[in-house]
Symmetry: D2
């Protein structure tokens, strides 16, 4: 049993806390939030201890590992603490919005042997994972093209958007990681197009985007497309397509049931896709905890490493440079 | 080039006439209908000769073969004429509504060598045909169960129903043939349930049915279900399912396009299935002419023989006996 | 929290025990099995108490309700005990293999007010349930036909078959219940065809069947087909189709992931369906516990009552009479 | 009846000739090919006149219109002749490989009123057309993103590649047109990535590409992706996806039949997609003739105009500039 604590009691922190409770190999020793009311509410709801300071978490002998689901601005600090206290950490993405900060952190991480896993949960989605396995098994021969479609069901509110760090660092960051996971090699060039098509005014105010297309290329010439939108009224749209010399593999969306309706106007009508990531990726969030526990038990490297988090952020940075200067950007320019 | 004439200028006769015109190995030498206006209209529309008597058709040296699409009550007579005149015939189903008549005709047919093909077009549907081929190739091992779903898009009018000879002889007859085609052996037992669920009053008046389920068993014990309804508002529903020891094969419905719609309420919404048999089975109607021409050219037995038409009618007869006496009927009882 | 005990520690008992542990509103107070080793193993594995006698279970003040997953032959006795001790019971299907026994038990049950829920879990499958709801909401108008396809992935071993009570009471019993659930009214006639197509010798020895088709009709004339086979190599096949005047609804099979493969030989290739009932119906087994808890808490009648279990058994009995005498059987003959 | 002649008797010319023969409103008055043997063979096969000079075609009083399916290098000349002789022309794509030539031709075309239709047949595909109609009807609200997947089943031989004018002018040109058709407004920026992933050596030799991704943006900011590959072993892959504020529409691939196979290893296995454009787009090639005839009869502008052909070529030119200089290209740079 890995005894864990959760830092951050928002929507995602709560989900993680519940998963830790349900997971057969973890127990939950407490929850912390900078907003004490939040922590109290979750602690009560889940019948677990409310912890009142971060230090207490990292110093405790009764806590083997920490799951970080607090505000992005705290991630880097907590990772540093994890290293200092020698306490394994499963940290939500992104590592930080500031690449410089992450670059410096990377040097510290490199010298440390503490387990740091970044929360790119989609790698653990059974569908995406099977696609990757089929690819690795050579089922489609040499990989040529990766197409990732990733669309949120609806626009987040202004308040969320404001602190999220921009579309590329908040939303696309998952797709950058998934792209690297599928490509099996590093993109060396990035070109991005983005705009405010859904809510032009809000995007103008925030200097942010709600719709984007990003092309990347690896050194070997493999091509990758990421396609993002903050609006997919038919439900959370999460697809991966892999084209190779011997075939194609798609990892497609899931419906809540396999009901089909047939009426005068249409046939084979499915129910809307699962609404959002908590439902769509429920299995993957459990599976990332399993991977974390396995790394701990078997002293294996992290299934999704700090370096993976770092690389995804570099791709986001490159995408922003491409958007700003409206040109193709080489990854080496932003490292 | 096989020079053909068409007897009967109703909806189906007209379709056949057009197919003969389009077919690269047939030409249309004329059309006949007992209603001279009908024949005139079609002859004019298709720029072909109107023929004014059936005898003229069978006696003509310029006509190699005859396609019969006239009223059911004329089929047996025309088959007899075909034999007498030695003129090959492709005759619409059913052979006749009266099994006794067909039994007697069978004796004449047996002594003749004139090519007689019955219009069970569904055997030539590319999907059903591929399913049969996969089955014959052993893809699903030994066949155990056949499930045929056959539903019309909407109730035909009273006037049609009145002369059609009853659900089993008019509509299910196709499914009886398809069942024999797929089973590859003869059903020996039939049990039927049927009723007037869509229009109980009209069915009562006509002593007919609009909904039915029929179970058949072959000597080896293979099980077959036919499922009929006169109402499928989502379009003509024509499916065949074959279960074997090594797998299953389905031949499913076709949509007019592969458009899918995704909205707030539903996903992967397809366009209604092709409305009715003229569209759904268009390819099969052409293919049955090809088969007829091949039989003629290569002196091969009919792809769908008089015997096939006879056997399907016997199954319909058995189904009616089952409905009347509400019991399992052995085929031998009605032969 | 409903404190529960589980009787029977076989495959299904163990699954139920785990569900009770996971369920947010139930706790597991102990497990019992007539084979003490079985009980010990599960008790240890799940870290719960092993109970050594059935009486202890029913007499305990610390146990609010009992889940029965023991051998079918014990069900009726345990239901009687539940009534005697006033302890609510969630009992696996079938109630008993002997209809006479169940008839007598029914009289006792009728005079009692103890909650008895029968384990027809499929009613709680999200897909089947949505289909039923859509039907109840009038989405497809008047219901005319119900087609239930229910096929096991592979033949159970002789040892299982021997004690299972025959295909109709063991396997089809679920489909009889699902048929009643969907039809919304009682079948009044049953006709069955069955045989030993997969393993004729074993079926001969056991006087049992591995393949069946059953037609039922309600008083209003609604038609229902059940289609069973013990072999579906492509995975557990569980489908329900509802045809009505305004449309059709299908509740179809689930795949483990939404991966599709495209190769030189085939396209849109899905992964095999979930192998068997523990996976396919996982959600429904949890949901039936939720329903049981709700009935307890809100003092509501059982979501699936003793009467439902009784009626399904009567349909099985009718099907056997139909098979034996090879004729249509009226339900009133076997009540 | 529109009396037509076909220039060019290669694979596509022959297909067009057959379509003209089959079409109810056109007749075929002759075929011409610079290779007299080719023309003779087709003339004989189709029982039509072989014409021995292009002048004869354009001068003939018995020929109302010309379909051009000859080598690309002849298209511009024939369009000029069509204008000079006042003879309507349906000309295969692309207009020419040299944009300068087309720019000059455009000036002549502008002063003329002769009907010139360019052979972008995909606009007439029933699926793509329905998608466009649904879009025009407002079904998905405002259009934000267009994703076009267009992959050939296998690499064409060196000989074909050599004269084709490059991937963008030969293959992507269709997608550029389809993009404009769907976007409903002009792309103003183009960025392309392309490479030789399938056959790097041959691509190196030819200075050409076999795999590409192209992003385009309209003035309003609508985003469009084209995704090309010369290898899709699972069959010709032709998909269009439209994302809007109220939903998504996909026009997907067609299978030859709706057969599905279910085996131990996989379920719902479809037959490979139709192999290539002659099969996949058969309906669209007939429909473009219908559109041409309608424009002629009703004196309407061309359904696909010279300007459409011109604009598509400009996009190809922009894509090449983007590839060459590895940067985002504004359309105005290449006009």
């Amino acid at each position: 049993m890995v005894r864990m604590a959760v830092l951050g009691c928002g929507r995602i922190g709560q989900m993680h806390a519940q998963n830790i409770l349900k997971h057969p190999e973890t127990s939950l020793r407490g929850v912390f939030d900078i907003d004490d009311n939040s922590a109290s509410a979750i602690a009560k709801k889940l019948s677990v201890k409310k912890i009142t300071s971060v230090n207490e978490v990292f110093e405790s002998d009764e806590i083997d590992a920490v799951l970080v689901a607090s505000a992005t601005s705290t991630h880097a600090d907590y990772i540093e603490m994890a290293i200092r206290y020698g306490k394994p950490i499963l940290c939500e993405k992104p590592i930080d919005l500031d690449l410089n900060r992450v670059n410096k952190l990377a040097e510290i991480v490199e010298r440390s042997s503490v387990l740091i896993q970044i929360g790119f949960n989609r790698r653990f989605d059974p569908g995406h994972r099977s696609a990757k396995m089929a690819l690795s098994n050579g089922e489609i021969g040499d990989l040529h093209q990766v197409i990732i479609t990733s669309r949120d069901p609806e626009m987040p509110p202004f308040s969320y958007y404001k602190d999220a760090g921009g579309l590329m660092r908040d939303m696309t960051i998952h797709d950058f990681d998934l792209a690297r996971f599928m490509l099996g090699s590093e993109p060396v060039e990035v070109f991005a197009v983005a705009g405010g098509l859904i809510d032009p005014e809000m995007m103008e105010d925030l200097d942010d985007h709600d719709s984007a297309m990003i092309i990347m290329k690896t050194e070997e010439g493999k091509q990758c497309l990421i396609n993002n939108s903050r609006i997919a009224v038919y439900g959370y749209d999460q697809r991966v397509e892999l084209l190779g010399t011997k075939g194609m593999i798609q990892s497609n969306n899931k419906k809540p049931t396999e009901i089909l309706r047939f009426t005068k106007n249409s046939v084979e009508v499915g129910e809307p896709y699962q609404y959002f990531f908590l439902e769509r990726y429920a299995e993957s969030f459990m599976a990332e905890i399993t991977a974390f526990v396995e790394s701990l038990k078997e002293n294996k490297p992290a299934a999704v490493s700090f370096n993976d988090g770092h690389k995804a952020l570099i791709l986001a940075e490159a995408a922003y440079l491409s958007l700003k200067q409206r040109r193709l950007v080489k990854i080496e320019e932003v490292i």
